[in-house]
Symmetry: C2
Subunit: 153 residues, 2 copies
């Protein structure tokens, strides 16, 4: 929890050159409260409505993209049909719980031995997604499965 969430959100918007509207302030206060969050547009929209902030889904999308452009968020691709936005913009990777759709930050993963990118291309970003099956107490797989890979050493 931050001490002056309103002031902090205001600062972020001003630095991004975005007018501090009711909707943006509400979304920013929730998103940038000091926790690392991974939200979809729908989730953020639902959360705003819970807090009795009236905001349309279109505005939630607009705002998420503006925040992303401003470097306040980054988009994480883990699911072919849903976009996640991550408030942690530092270099890190993810566990993805396929059953629940939950993302979890992981740090210190080492990616080595990357081949040279083809001529005319350069690396914009490296994303590691560790997909997780949930198991029940018996150790049986609960979700749809497939042979489990292990990470290359």
């Amino acid at each position: 929890m931050r001490e002056r969430p309103y002031k902090h959100a205001l600062d972020l918007l001003q630095r991004a050159g975005l007018r501090p509207t009711k909707q943006r302030l509400a979304l920013a206060r929730f998103l940038f409260d000091g926790h690392d969050r991974h939200v979809t547009a729908e989730q953020l929209h639902a959360r705003a409505l819970e807090d009795r902030v009236s905001v349309s889904l279109a505005t939630v999308y607009n705002t998420l993209h503006q925040f992303t452009r401003a470097g306040l968020l980054r988009e994480v691709v883990v699911d072919a049909n849903r976009s996640y936005f991550d408030t942690n913009t530092s270099e890190h990777h993810h566990f993805f719980h396929e059953k629940t759709g939950e993302l979890q930050d992981i740090r210190d993963v080492v990616v080595a031995n990357l081949p040279q990118p083809p001529a005319g291309a350069r690396i914009a970003r490296v994303d590691v997604v560790v997909r997780l099956d949930d198991t029940d107490e018996s150790g049986d797989v609960v979700t749809h499965s497939g042979p489990a890979d292990r990470a290359d050493i």
Copy 2:
């Protein structure tokens, strides 16, 4: 190029317990011709029509999912709004050309220092996606950009 593509496709379908219909044979012959391929449903559909195989898009989707369930394909998630299917089912990772949507296999990437998965979960798969910006001869970035990360180590 395979010597008896018809026979090979037939074998694959039979081992998967799928009836060798005209549509499945045509799709299988193209997909499993010995090359590693990364296709979207639309691309595969377009290709079939080029080859004058009449097949509906619904059947292409059905077939891709059946082949995936049978372990002949695997789905690769790199783009929030498009599903890629990969004929290379061995352990490997990808370059993703954000501009063109093209995927390219990379081998021998080392992923180390993965944290233990949370209790009740186990690793189903580890995916490394190296996103590439295309640059022109001057070295300037051609696509929309963002600060370029380098891989850890």
